[in-house]
């Protein structure tokens, strides 16, 4: 049996509680609060205690999807990334960089937010970057 306990930060609200994800044979089986976290000091709320339940849910998106005709169908990463890159280039060239807009995510990491705004500003050339801070 492969068992590990991984200290991380809760994905729900802005409190940022420290919690352990308890992993058995590649499956997250439960959440435990971190006692040393200055934020939650060994406690969690009902969402935090269940923060592992959605991770390996069968509804997760697991393959890239592309719209062909009316419907979305599974595609390879290579094909999907190629389509996104060529469409962004096409729209930028046809209508200018400010015709492209980006929403970054209050759900993603700092590193990912940094990278998406850098991509928008440096690679595409627009400041059309926002996220749901106001929502």
């Amino acid at each position: 049996m492969d068992y590990r306990s991984v200290l991380t930060t809760c994905p729900y609200c802005g409190c940022g509680c420290g919690l352990y994800l308890e992993v058995v044979d590649g499956r997250i089986v439960q959440t435990l609060p971190s006692k040393t976290s200055p934020v939650n000091q060994g406690k969690l709320c009902i969402k935090g205690w269940n923060a592992h339940e959605f991770v390996q849910h069968p509804r997760r998106l697991t393959r890239p999807l592309m719209r062909r005709g009316g419907a979305q169908e599974e595609a390879s990463w290579d094909e999907a990334l190629g389509a996104v890159a060529s469409e962004l280039k096409r729209v930028k060239e046809a209508h200018g960089p400010d015709s492209v807009a980006f929403l970054t995510s209050a759900r993603c990491t700092n590193e990912e937010n940094y990278l998406l705004q850098k991509f928008a500003r440096a690679a595409i050339g627009t400041n059309n970057v926002d996220h749901c801070a106001r929502l």
Partner: protein, 526 residues
């Protein structure tokens, strides 16, 4: 937050407004209970009698959108009684005289008329807060999601400065951030007007600095906010969008309008972990790794930068967002070559002065609160210690403005929206979590018993709620938690989305939509 979470436990007066703290920020709420147990006065102003109101020394139910009037009334009382902190005002602030002129127009009787809060309660709240040794203000979206959102926040800042309750431990103006990393997304420049570290895109020297760091020509133009993007699509200016981990078709006001806009895009790419109403509209959907499947950092409400660690491999063929963005960038001809999230973080430190002293090694344990300018800096638990970021604290003279939409003959009810204790935002994660969904599997509209009686509605009956934007069907919960003539609905439920009803009217400065106030009518469903 200007101060850190733990400091709240040592405040001797806490004024909570527009924050349902026990529901939306339970671990902040534990500090409010601790403070109460130590004898702190708890003041709550909220249109709903939330759980914290049951523990409050003073609870008031203000009319929706009347916050400026209520707060100005409190400040009028404070000044008239000489309870303000003259030394703090003299040494650390400016603009007081202009501010006084407006405050003079808000005797408690007028504030009471506008806010529907009793004069006695206004006076008691003013006295408790002003006379406290360390008074803290805690607020959330109930303050910001208004066409007067900026006015509301500035008015709270006025109140804190008036009493000198800022720049010391256990004081301050403390907005609670709703999303796990909304603080970080802002810090990292996920905004149309600033680069990472709130450095303005419109300042030429700053633009040059980033052009050098990123080896690219950057745009001098301000970008569009979310709502402006939606209007931009309809005006034919915005043709393509990339949406990372957001679900505007449930979270944005007037979602039918958002759907109409997104459908007109020539190209839409959505990167997410679950299928959502928004991914359904996309030309390409890319499956992302969840928080448990990647490394990185989140920044919480108190500006504490903490580690996110990988527990399992990404499910299926999902990939971490940073790899997806890097691949896209390489394909459009702007090379990126990061080996890990830590590599990216090292670059963030170079261009973001407030993060410069933070390293993965230093945040192995408890994390660090920014500003943290150097690697020997201990981090900053509370801001504005000896001076404000701009030098002197500026009083803003702010008059009361009513909400954009108020009840009338055709739409006689006020509607306000918010969160429940088990569900999270648009529900994509919590509603597939069995233990959470079991607690609250469907939306409930809160309605006052008198209104329910007048409409012949009982607990559990189904009603149609209609605003000028659209109609939803929902079950009713009859409760006096909400005031007479006011309805409350959580917005987590895509199948009867509260945001079909909400108003897109924006704050003129920060462009936040007025989720917290609109007018609706109710009919009993057949």
């Amino acid at each position: 937050m200007t101060n850190s979470i733990e400091e709240l436990a040592d405040a001797d007066c806490i004024f909570i407004t527009g924050s349902n703290t026990t529901v939306a920020h339970p671990l902040v709420a534990t500090r409010l209970y601790k403070a109460k147990a130590k004898g702190a006065k708890i003041l709550v102003a909220d249109p709903r009698q939330i759980q914290m109101a049951l523990f409050a020394d003073v609870y008031v139910r203000q009319r929706l959108g009347s916050d400026v009037a209520l707060l100005n009334g409190m400040m009028h009382v404070i000044v008239k009684n000489g309870w303000h902190n003259r030394q703090f005002i003299e040494e650390r602030t400016e603009g007081f005289e202009e501010f006084l002129k407006v405050i003079e127009q808000f005797p408690p009787e007028r504030a009471s008329e506008l806010s529907d809060v009793a004069v006695d309660d206004i006076v008691r709240m003013a006295e408790y807060y002003a006379k406290a040794k360390n008074g803290s203000i805690v607020y959330c979206m109930g303050i910001t999601q208004h066409t007067t959102g900026v006015d509301n926040v500035k008015t709270l800042a006025n109140l804190a400065m008036l009493c000198g309750h800022i720049g010391r431990p256990s004081t301050g103006v403390n907005p609670l951030r709703g999303q796990n990393n909304v603080q970080g997304a802002c810090d990292m420049g996920g905004l149309p007007n600033v680069y990472p570290g709130y450095q303005a895109v419109t300042v030429p020297e700053i633009k040059e600095k980033f052009e050098k760091a990123w080896n690219a020509k950057l745009s001098p133009n301000l970008g569009l906010t979310i709502m402006e993007m939606m209007y931009g699509i309809e005006e034919g200016k915005v043709k393509a969008m990339v949406i990372l981990g957001e679900n505007p078709l449930v979270s944005d006001p007037d979602v039918e309008h958002v759907r109409h806009a997104l459908q007109q895009l020539e190209f839409l790419c959505v990167i997410d972990i679950f299928p959502t109403p928004t991914t359904e509209l996309a030309h390409v959907v890319l499956p992302a790794a969840s928080y448990a499947e990647k490394e990185g950092t989140f920044s919480n409400s108190e500006r504490r930068v903490q580690r996110v660690r990988k527990a399992i491999d990404p499910v299926g063929d999902a990939r971490p967002d940073w790899q997806i963005i890097q691949d896209l960038s390489n394909r459009v001809g702007y090379p990126m070559n990061y080996g890990s999230p830590e590599d990216i973080f090292e670059e963030i430190r170079q261009v973001t002065p407030s993060y410069a002293g933070i390293t993965y090694e230093r945040i192995e344990g408890e994390g660090l609160c920014w500003p943290c300018p150097t690697t020997d800096h201990p981090g900053t638990p509370y801001l504005h210690k000896d001076r404000f970021a701009r030098g002197k604290g500026l009083f803003h003279a702010i008059d009361y403005r009513p909400p954009a939409e108020t009840p009338d003959q055709d739409y006689p009810f006020w509607l306000t929206t918010g969160r429940s204790y088990v569900h999270y935002h648009t529900g994509t994660m919590t509603r597939v979590s069995p233990h959470l969904e079991r607690e609250m599997p469907e939306v409930l509209l809160e309605m006052h018993p008198d209104d329910a009686a007048a409409y012949g509605v009982q607990d559990g009956d189904v009603v149609r709620v209609t605003s000028r934007r659209g109609t939803v069907t929902t079950k009713v919960q009859v409760t006096d938690r909400i005031g007479k003539g006011v309805l409350f609905m959580p917005f987590h439920f895509a199948e009867s989305a509260a945001n079909v009803l909400t108003n897109t009217a924006l704050d003129p400065v920060c462009k936040i939509p007025e989720y917290k106030v609109c007018a609706v009518k109710v009919e009993k469903a057949a």
